[in-house]
Each structure stands twice: as C-alpha cells, then as structure tokens.
C-alpha cells in the first residue's frame, strides 16, 4: 500500500512537471513584452509577424513578403537574458544587405518604405552580451518580430 501511494504521488508529480515543460513555447511571444509597442496611428498588424525558440549561436532566417506603396514598422524582441537581438534585412533575390541592426546601435525598431512589392530575408540571432557564457550555453529563449504597416504617403 505504501509503495502504491509513493508510485501514485510520483506519477502525479511527474505528469505535473511535464505539463509545465511541454507548455513552454514561444508562440505569440511577439504579442507581448517589448515587441508589443504602440506603432502609431493608422498602422495595421501584419500576419507574418513571428516568434521562435532561439539559443546563442543560432540563426533564424525568414522569407517575408513586403507589399509596395507601404510603410512598415518592424519591432524585434527577445528574452532579457539574450539581448540584444541582431537582425539583418537583405534583398530576397540578390541578398544584398538592406539594413544591419549592428551598424545601427542594435535598434529594436526599424521603419521601411517599400516602393514595389518584394521579398526580404530577415536573419535573426541573439548576442546575450550581458549574460554569462555558462548561462547562455545552457539555455534557449524566445525571439520574435512584430510587423505593422500603413499606406505609404506619396
């Protein structure tokens, strides 16, 4: 009887702990935290906004459609431990660099005025400059970007 009660307690606790582990996800990370900032009047959210799991040394690459005659505001965010986010925007065809956040004080926000519809590649990594290496080697975090757009004033 004693053994059975131990087993039951252990199974319950094991299930409980697994629920916590499996519920860990970066879904909708871009919809809260530092990504969720008021973009300004007239902006609409773009459904291509995304979040993902990331570790130091990883690189995420997204192919994103940007429509012509629009102004886009891109906001990047990550788990505090992994700041700053390093992102590079490049042309989807030529891969020429359009914007590199490293050369712009690791700004988390960039505005793009797009004349004609194009595909832009977004490469994201995290640098974790203020975190101890031991910590960043052992952990994954979340990274996300939120896209907003409004018609471009001509």
């Amino acid at each position: 009887m004693k053994k059975l009660s131990y087993i039951l307690v252990f199974v319950f606790l094991a299930i409980f702990s697994n629920i916590e582990v499996f519920s860990q996800s970066c879904n909708k990370f871009h919809l809260y935290g530092s990504c969720m900032q008021y973009p300004g009047p007239s902006y609409k959210m773009d459904g291509q906004s995304r979040s993902n799991v990331i570790g130091v040394g990883d690189k995420l690459v997204y192919s994103v459609i940007f429509y012509g005659d629009r102004n886009y505001k891109l906001i990047f965010c990550t788990t505090d431990l992994f700041k700053p986010v390093h992102y590079i925007l490049s042309d989807g065809v030529t891969r020429e660099v359009i914007f590199d956040s490293e050369k712009n004080d690791f700004t988390e926000i960039v505005e793009l005025n797009i004349e004609t519809t194009r595909r832009i590649m977004i490469e994201i990594s995290v640098l974790a400059t203020n975190a101890e290496e031991e910590l960043t080697e052992d952990y994954f975090g979340c990274v996300g970007f939120l896209l907003h757009w409004k018609p471009l004033k001509k």
Partner: protein, 298 residues
C-alpha cells in the same frame, strides 16, 4: 517520518524542475525536449541555411483587392453546406483553406452571418483534419458579438488563420500547412480573377494580381520543403502551374536603391515590376478556375 521525507523531496524535486522550465521563456539547452524543439524548427540554422517561408493571410491578400473596388458576390464562394461532403484528408485540408478565404471575404464585406457560417465550417473541417477546434471557439463568440464591424471581423478572420498556422507549426505539421494554404491561396486568386472579370489594361487590380507571384512562390517553397506524400505532390503541381504563369509575365527591372534618412527610416526603391497582359490574364484565370473546380468538387 521517513515517508514524509520521501514525499517532501519528491515534491521539492518536481517543483524545482517545473519552476526552472517556466522561468521567463527560457529553456535549458540540456533539456532533450528543448533540443527536439530546436531541431524540428524551420528557419533554424547552425550548419546549413534553411529558411522559414512566411505567408500573408488570405484576409490580408483580399484586403488589397477590396480597396480596388471589388463588389461582394456570394456566388463566387464555396457553400459552407458542402463541408460534410468532403471525404479524405486531401479534400478536407484543401477545402479548409478554401473556407478560410471565403470567411475572410465575407468578413471584408461585413457579412456577419456569412462570416460566422464559414467560421463554423472552418471549425468543423479543422476537427476532421486533426486541428484542435478549441482554437476557434473564442473567435466564434467574438465574431457573433462583433457583427457588422469590419475591422473586428477582419481581425478575427486573420487570427483564425494565424492560430491554425501556429497550432500546425507547433505540431510540426508543415505538410498540412502547405495543403491548407494552397487551398486558401487558390481560392483568393479565384475570387480576385473572377471579381476583375474581363481584362482592361488600366485596371489597378492587375498590379495587385501580379504581386500574388510573391506569396505563391513562398508557398511553393514551403510546400516543396514539406513534401511527404502523393497529396502534397498534387498540390505542388497546382502551385507550379500557377507559378509558371506568373514567371511568364513581362518583367521590367530597375536598380534597387536603398537610402536611410537621419531618423533611421529606410526607403527601398526600384526592383522588379511585373506586367500582366491580356493573354497572361486569360491563361491564369482559366487555370485557376480549373484547379479550383477540382478542389471544391465532391
């Protein structure tokens, strides 16, 4: 006393594990669960580059055409009453995509009752295709409460698409995403082409139609990387047929010029523009109508 100690340590151990994993969206690298998540992620690159191809929602695509003075025409849509007639996963997933687009179209034109009907059809087919129906329940309540409000209905329709993508991405079901999205994009193209009606060189909607090349190409790449079975190959063939027509459009290129103003705002000018002539338009319209007919037939 010994019994108490054992239970205490078991509890302490479990709380430690649970607390650690739930801390500020950080997971241990050593945790095999986390490794599995990282390994299965698209767009994650360490040794070789793989790209996550993102797709605008059908609602976002139709919104562009909506501003080009389209008129509401319910006869273009697939009746939600047909939802029970689709048998087999290929027909169900493709028509799930079709209904998502029809829901977005109804929402754009503030047709509340129709939007709710299509959302219910989406929920029903989602269940059939292994997508949790609970992700649509709060949206159904909101769509009934926000009857007649364009922004709210459009947001609900976009949210339904993104909730579904997230559910499928989390489950690693990239092939289902490709199938649903293919159905949705083919329906979007069908509605756009039928709404334009006949070709007219000065119709602004033709430019918007040409822009569809970009999301179609992204979807094709996504589908190629997710191919697992014969059904996926059929879908890839559909997309290749459409993509080939877009690739035949007349192109005019100018050098891409990137400038940055003192406040940091970046402007991108130039690039490639596509021009759709009457022959391209007719070929595309006929091909999309043919593919769409094959999808919605039962």
């Amino acid at each position: 006393m010994n019994k108490f100690k054992t239970v205490f340590w078991l509890c302490a151990f479990t709380v430690l594990i649970a607390g650690n994993s739930g801390c500020k969206n950080v997971q241990t690298n050593n945790d095999s669960q986390a490794e599995n998540i990282a390994d299965s992620m698209d767009g994650h690159t360490s040794d070789q580059e793989s790209v996550l191809f993102l797709l605008p929602s059908p609602g976002e695509i139709l919104l562009r055409f909506y501003s080009a003075d389209f008129q509401y025409n319910p006869e273009l849509l697939n009746s939600p009453l047909n939802k029970d007639k689709y048998i087999g996963s290929k027909a169900q997933t493709l028509n799930l995509g079709v209904y998502i687009t029809d829901m977005a179209y109804s929402a754009l034109f503030e047709r509340s009752a129709e939007t709710v009907n299509y959302l219910e059809a989406v929920q029903a087919l989602s269940t059939e295709t292994g997508i949790s129906s609970t992700i649509f329940e709060s949206l159904l309540v909101r769509s009934k409460a926000n009857a007649g409000k364009l922004d709210s209905l459009a947001n609900i329709s976009n949210e339904a698409f993104s909730n579904m993508l997230e559910f499928l991405e989390t489950g690693g079901k990239e092939n289902t995403i490709a199938q649903v999205s293919a159905g949705a994009y083919i329906e979007s193209l069908f509605i756009a082409l039928q709404s334009i009606g006949s070709y007219s060189e000065d119709n602004e909607a033709l430019e918007l139609l040409s822009d569809m090349r970009f999301p179609v190409d992204n979807l094709l790449e996504k589908a190629k990387s997710a191919t697992l079975n014969e059904a996926d190959k059929t879908i890839i063939n559909y997309l290749i047929e459409i993509s080939t027509i877009f690739n035949d459009l007349e192109k005019s290129s100018s050098k891409t010029v990137v400038t940055q103003n003192p406040s940091g705002e970046v402007s991108i000018q130039g690039g490639e523009e596509l021009k759709m002539n009457e022959a391209n338009f007719i070929i595309l319209k006929n091909k999309v109508a043919e593919i769409r007919k094959g999808i919605v037939s039962y």
